[in-house]
């Protein structure tokens, strides 16, 4: 094994492990925990896992330039992040500076993922199925109306007024009506999410297509293109940067609508779990749901941006996630 002579550890490389050890010490000493909470050991275990993972990355960074650069970049951030755990533990469990049941310690919150994993799994599954169905329906309909309005003056004449009148109504305002009109709460949820996605996708698609350089169409027409080609091989790809912004805005709105629908009528999913936990005063579960939502939704946005990067390889890096 040879160590690269240029290898330099970050001057702060001991920051993250020291912070993690500090968290451990804080958690077990002093022993007088002021919040009455059963110790589950999940938090302590997670700290050790993070400790091990960091050690692993530090070792790997000796041999891999890319890991080294990444680790260097994130060392201060990781330290701060790990110190935040300690602060959280201190103001809750240790000294009860902020009260239960609204502000539980990290061990209490994290224990939910171990003890109620099955319920959470089911909630995630239910939410994702509803989200994907609604997003797909809304996205496809948004593309269809957007292309119609952007391409055809006649269709624009008929659809645009309806779009401009109905579009700005927040999808959540339809919840009471959706709940009684649709046979199941699932189909009502699909309708609401689809509606929230439909508006931005339609808007951005139609403005994208209306703004395509006329010379692109002229080029295609002199090459023998028919209308179908002009729409799907010229207008849509040329408008894609704007269509993508519509899809991104739609995704954000779909999250909002999903949680709103699940707290106001749909019996299941992560929003419903929040409502349920609140009803029993189990706020530590609410925090667990929030963490789950954060991880889940940022992953979905990340996936959308990865897809965008594949499609828009010709203009990579316009908007970053």
């Amino acid at each position: 094994m040879s160590v690269s002579p240029r290898f330099k550890v970050h001057p702060f490389f001991w920051g993250p492990p020291v912070a993690l050890l500090l968290d451990q010490v804080l958690h077990f000493f002093p022993e007088d925990n002021l919040q009455p909470a059963p110790e589950t050991g999940v938090y302590s275990f997670l700290l050790w896992v993070l400790f091990g993972a960091y050690a692993l990355f530090l070792t790997a960074s000796v041999f891999h330039q890319r890991i080294r650069t990444k680790l260097h970049h994130y060392t201060p951030l990781l330290t701060a992040f790990f110190l935040f755990f300690g602060l959280w533990d201190t103001v809750t469990l240790k000294y009860a500076l902020i009260p239960l049941p609204y502000f539980p310690g990290p061990d209490r919150v994290l224990s939910v993922f171990v003890n109620d994993g099955d319920i959470f799994g089911l909630g995630i599954y239910h939410s994702l199925v509803l989200l994907f169905t609604g997003y797909a329906v809304g996205g496809v309909l948004g593309l269809i109306t957007g292309i119609s309005i952007g391409w055809s003056r006649r269709l624009s004449y008929w659809i645009n007024p309806v779009f401009k009148f109905v579009g700005p109504i927040p999808a959540t305002a339809w919840i009471p009506i959706a709940m009684i009109t649709f046979p199941t709460s699932f189909s009502a949820g699909v309708f609401l999410i689809a509606l929230s996605v439909w508006f931005p996708v339609t808007f951005m698609t139609s403005s994208g297509i209306a703004g395509v350089k006329n010379s692109y169409f002229e080029v295609a027409r002199t090459l023998g293109a028919d209308n179908r080609f002009l729409i799907f091989k010229v207008a849509v790809p040329a408008a894609f940067p704007l269509i993508f912004i519509g899809l991104f805005m739609g995704l954000g709105l779909s999250f909002l609508t999903l949680i709103a629908a699940e707290t106001l009528g749909v019996k299941g999913g992560l929003g419903y779990l929040i409502l349920w936990a609140q009803g029993w005063g189990e706020y530590y579960k609410v925090y667990a749901v929030l963490i789950t939502i954060a991880v889940l939704f940022s992953s979905l946005i990340l996936i959308l941006f990865k897809i965008k990067d594949r499609i828009l390889i010709w203009q990579k890096g316009l908007i970053k996630w």
Partner: protein
């Protein structure tokens, strides 16, 4: 003058007028009763100052503009809309930025749904315009000259009988421009298409054309038709070349002592 026997790509423009109405409501006569026949295989230039209607005429032949009076026919078929048999190269390359060079060049085959049968030809055209090795490049990574070469290949891939060139070299620097003129001439000689070039560069017109049609503006009319029978390849500093050049300058009133400033240059 090289005119092949096969009678195809013959353009007949008869009494064509095109009137625009500007935003003040005035009628602008971009073209006024223009009569012109471009022979099959001929290289013809439309030369004149801005506003003389040369680009308008080219767009009419391309079929991109149909609001005209008179008649335009290619090989006896009236022009009513754009078609693959009339290839057009714009001043701006107008490559699709979301497609690679190869995909841009084969666009005509895709549009006519013949890509499968003619896939092998794409490489020939990439070779023809000297873009081998750049097939996977995206347009924003190309230089101006390379982008315009790709645009020319894109127009040629449909085997057009008529190649319409709308100031295709206008945006290039002088050196790239001269190199591209030779390249276009080489392609024209190889492919034997009828070529109509719109330009406001007198040297370019003399260097490339069998005939030069000089247009005068407002209303756009044919002022003079010159046959250039200098042997090819031509030399830009040939005394004959320079003589033709000063003749054209005189026709355009730029060789007079008091230049007329009415031209909207």
């Amino acid at each position: 003058m090289v005119i092949p026997a096969a009678a195809s790509g013959r353009i007949e423009v008869k009494a064509v007028s095109r009137t625009f109405i500007n935003h003040e409501g005035d009628r602008i006569h971009a073209l006024d009763k223009v009569d012109l026949t471009v022979e099959s295989g001929e290289f013809l230039s439309l030369l004149g100052p801005s506003g003389c209607g040369k680009s308008t005429l080219l767009r009419l032949v391309a079929g991109l503009d149909t609001a005209y009076e008179g008649s335009i026919a290619v090989d006896g078929v009236p022009v009513t809309k754009p078609g693959a048999e009339r290839g057009l190269v714009f001043q701006d390359p107008n490559l699709f930025p979301w497609l690679s060079v190869r995909r841009n060049i084969q666009l005509g085959l895709e549009a006519r749904q013949v890509l499968k049968e003619k896939k092998d030809e794409v490489d020939d055209y990439i070779q023809l315009v000297g873009l081998k090795g750049f097939e996977k490049t995206f347009p924003h990574q190309l230089s101006g000259g390379m982008a315009q070469r790709a645009a020319i290949a894109r127009a040629l891939i449909n085997h057009p009988k008529v190649l319409l060139l709308d100031e295709p070299l206008g945006a290039l620097d002088a050196f790239t421009r001269m190199a591209m003129q030779d390249e276009i001439l080489r392609i024209w000689t190889e492919r034997r298409t009828t070529a109509v070039l719109v330009t406001h560069d007198i040297d370019e017109a003399i260097y490339m054309s069998d005939r030069i049609v000089i247009l005068s503006p407002r209303p756009g009319r044919i002022q003079k038709v010159l046959t250039i029978d200098l042997p090819r390849p031509r030399r830009r500093n040939d005394p004959e070349f320079l003589k033709i050049r000063s003749g054209i300058l005189e026709t355009l009133h730029f060789a007079e002592e008091e230049p007329i400033l009415a031209y909207n240059l």
